[in-house]
């Protein structure tokens, strides 16, 4: 192995690369320039070799593709064993993994096997003046940001989706692709039996979210929010109690025990702004809150607050937007 590297794990789902992998490559390039490292990427799966060039376009200097039928399913023990052997061989300085549910299940097993430190769910990475990697992550249900240093090698970090900038791919970028078959796949004790269900809505990728909370009086009233979301080309999110009531599936839940979201616009209707809810949406672009209680904590986190009854305000907003649209004054995407 020539040179020192920063390694990015390219996550795949059914042979497609998860976009978090490209975001990590962008960040890895930036750190690599500062620390004089190469950018390596490793991808595992079955029939994924032809995907490797994408990773080069997004910034990898070298890609290792472990293409093997035994890696077709997401088997945490199998993936761990291949990645641990790979890291022991190539000895990267830094190893970045996406903080998706899969990444957060896989990374700690690897860290434990390698006896190295792992920082969870980071939202920023910085290089200090003396060349140390500072890993920044929310903790205490999003109430604080901790700066973490790792004292062992490789420095391992999982990074939250959509916090690092998506780089522009450069199809003319050249790099090396090394296709391999793992010597050893230890898959003991885990059997993947199949997908039970797909998530109904993808909040993590949504650009506009209209979210409802306990200010809604009954399940049917979610329709009001659905209509606004439809008009704006967005999707409906909810606070946890609505999921607990069984009004809507967990896919729609925003917060500490649900989805972390980062839309351009988040409209919170009848949501008080508990720490657990804020933990999932505080990094949204523009936050708009509608609440009858002027002292609701959500207003302290909002760009625009409306002290009003959502049952009056939202229907009026909908009619107004429809009217404007009817007159062709504005272009409302998705309408």
């Amino acid at each position: 192995m020539s040179g020192k590297g920063i390694l990015v794990y390219a996550e795949t789902r059914e042979s497609e690369i998860h976009p978090i992998s490209f975001e990590l490559l962008g960040k890895a390039r930036e750190i690599a320039e500062k620390l004089g490292l190469e950018v390596w990427s490793v991808i595992l799966g079955s029939g994924i070799s032809d995907k490797a060039s994408q990773l080069i376009h997004y910034g990898a200097d070298r890609v290792y593709a472990y293409d093997d039928e035994r890696l077709r399913d997401l088997n945490v023990v199998a993936y761990k064993s291949v990645l641990v052997d790979f890291v022991k061989e190539t000895k990267p300085e830094i190893f970045l993994i996406g903080a998706t549910p899969w990444g957060r299940s896989l990374a700690p097993r690897i860290a434990a096997a390698l006896d190295t430190g792992l920082t969870a769910d980071c939202i920023d990475l910085q290089v200090s003046e003396d060349g140390k990697l500072i890993q920044i992550r929310p903790a205490f249900t999003g109430n604080i940001l901790a700066h973490i240093e790792t004292t062992s090698k490789p420095i391992m970090t999982t990074i939250r989706y959509r916090v690092m900038k998506m780089p522009e791919p450069d199809p003319s970028r050249r790099g090396e692709v090394i296709v391999r078959r793992p010597e050893r796949v230890e898959a003991d004790g885990v059997k993947f039996l199949g997908k039970v269900s797909e998530r109904g809505v993808n909040l993590a990728d949504a650009e506009i979210i209209v979210a409802g909370g306990k200010g809604l009086k009954k399940k049917e009233d979610l329709r009001i929010l659905e209509e606004l979301a439809g008009l704006l080309g967005g999707v409906v999110g909810v606070s946890r109690p609505l999921v607990e009531e069984g009004w809507i599936s967990k896919d729609h839940q925003v917060g500490f025990s649900g989805n972390t979201v980062k839309p351009r616009i988040y409209i919170a209707c009848g949501i008080s702004g508990s720490p657990q809810h804020l933990a999932g949406m505080r990094d949204s672009g523009i936050i708009i809150a509608v609440n009858t209680d002027p002292s609701a904590p959500i207003f302290r986190h909002a760009d625009y607050g409306v002290v009003a009854d959502l049952y009056e305000f939202i229907p009026r907003l909908i009619s107004f937007l429809k009217e404007v649209k009817g007159h062709g004054k504005g272009v409302v995407k998705g309408a």
């Binding site: 997401l74 549910p101 299940s105 990374a107 700690p108 097993r109 860290a111 434990a112 190295t116 430190g117 792992l118 920082t119 969870a120 769910d121 500072i134 929310p138 903790a139 205490f140 109430n143 604080i144 901790a146 700066h147 973490i148 240093e149 790792t150 004292t151 062992s152 003991d188 004790g189 885990v190 059997k191 039996l193 997908k195 039970v196 269900s197 998530r199 993590a204 650009e207 704006l232 967990k250 025990s257 351009r264 616009i265 508990s274 523009i286 936050i287 708009i288 302290r300 986190h301 760009d303 625009y304 607050g305 409306v306 305000f313 907003l317 107004f320 937007l321 004054k329 504005g330 995407k333």
Partner: protein, 265 residues
């Protein structure tokens, strides 16, 4: 069939809605808030108790933490756990997740045999979700994370649904470790009678010396940690505009913002 030997890992955490953060110094004042059991760990305990009730077995709860974490263990006894062990020792303090996992794995080894280990998906304070999978790796057993449904359990295997955004079905050979979500079940509440009984229950206390057969003390606590929290920043009420509308013009104002922003996408 003889029963399942189940271990539940529980952490005591501050009540996150009451804990105060000093914006100036970045200090987390844990004494400002009452301590409670990490909410997700109650789902892990509930799952253990349900398996015990259905199939027979024993539930052992283990917690690493300061002496006061005893109250969370007593609460677990009140809910139906059979045995409780507290790992407490100044040499265990300041542990990161890997050092925590080493202590817990050593304690589980010391217990002897086990069939199933249950953890929460993450904690409300450290919030890493790493301890469970790390313990599984150190014990050399399979794990499934974000388990939202337990479909089947038999003498030698368990079938679970893992919520990875999409939901996946996994079969694990026992012994295995599961980290569980809040969707898995609704934790029972202890009765007053149970709470009184648990008050008198004995909690076994183990120190680093008790674990030394399985892990050297220098691999535990701050000394055994591989990460360091070097600074804590409290994000202040942020960079938000904080413009409040109350009257008739609110509809027009908000519509204006939406129209300019949405068209720009």
């Amino acid at each position: 069939m003889e029963g399942f030997r189940i271990v539940v890992l529980i952490k005591q955490v501050p009540d996150i809605e009451k804990v105060r953060f000093d914006v100036e110094t970045g200090r987390v004042d844990r004494s400002s808030a009452p301590a409670e059991t990490n909410p997700f760990d109650l789902n892990a305990l509930e799952a253990a108790l349900q398996i015990k009730e259905r199939c027979g077995g024993t539930v052992t709860v283990i917690s690493m933490g300061p002496r006061q974490a005893e109250s969370s263990l007593k609460d677990a006894i009140a809910r139906g756990a059979d045995r409780a062990i507290l790992l407490t020792d100044p040499r265990l303090a300041g542990a990161d997740t890997i050092a925590t996992a080493r202590a817990l794995a050593a304690a589980i080894k010391k217990l002897g045999g086990f069939d199933l280990i249950l953890c929460g998906e993450k904690t409300v304070d450290g919030d890493t979700g790493q301890v469970g999978p790390e313990v599984a790796e150190l014990l050399g057993i399979p794990h499934a994370a974000y388990v939202c449904e337990l479909r089947e359990i038999s003498r030698d295997r368990v079938v679970v649904v893992s919520d990875m955004g999409d939901k996946y079905l996994y079969e694990l050979e026992l012994p295995a470790l599961l980290t569980v979500t809040r969707e898995l079940n609704t934790p029972r509440l202890p009765t007053l009678k149970d709470l009184l009984r648990a008050k008198r229950a004995g909690i076994e206390v183990w120190t680093a010396d008790d674990l030394s057969e399985h892990v050297p003390a220098n691999m535990l606590g701050y000394q055994g940690s591989r990460t360091r929290v070097v600074k804590v920043v409290i994000p202040s009420a942020e960079h938000r505009k904080g413009i409040i509308y109350r009257g008739e013009d609110a509809v027009e104002k908000i519509a204006e913002i939406l129209l300019s922003e949405v068209a720009a996408i």
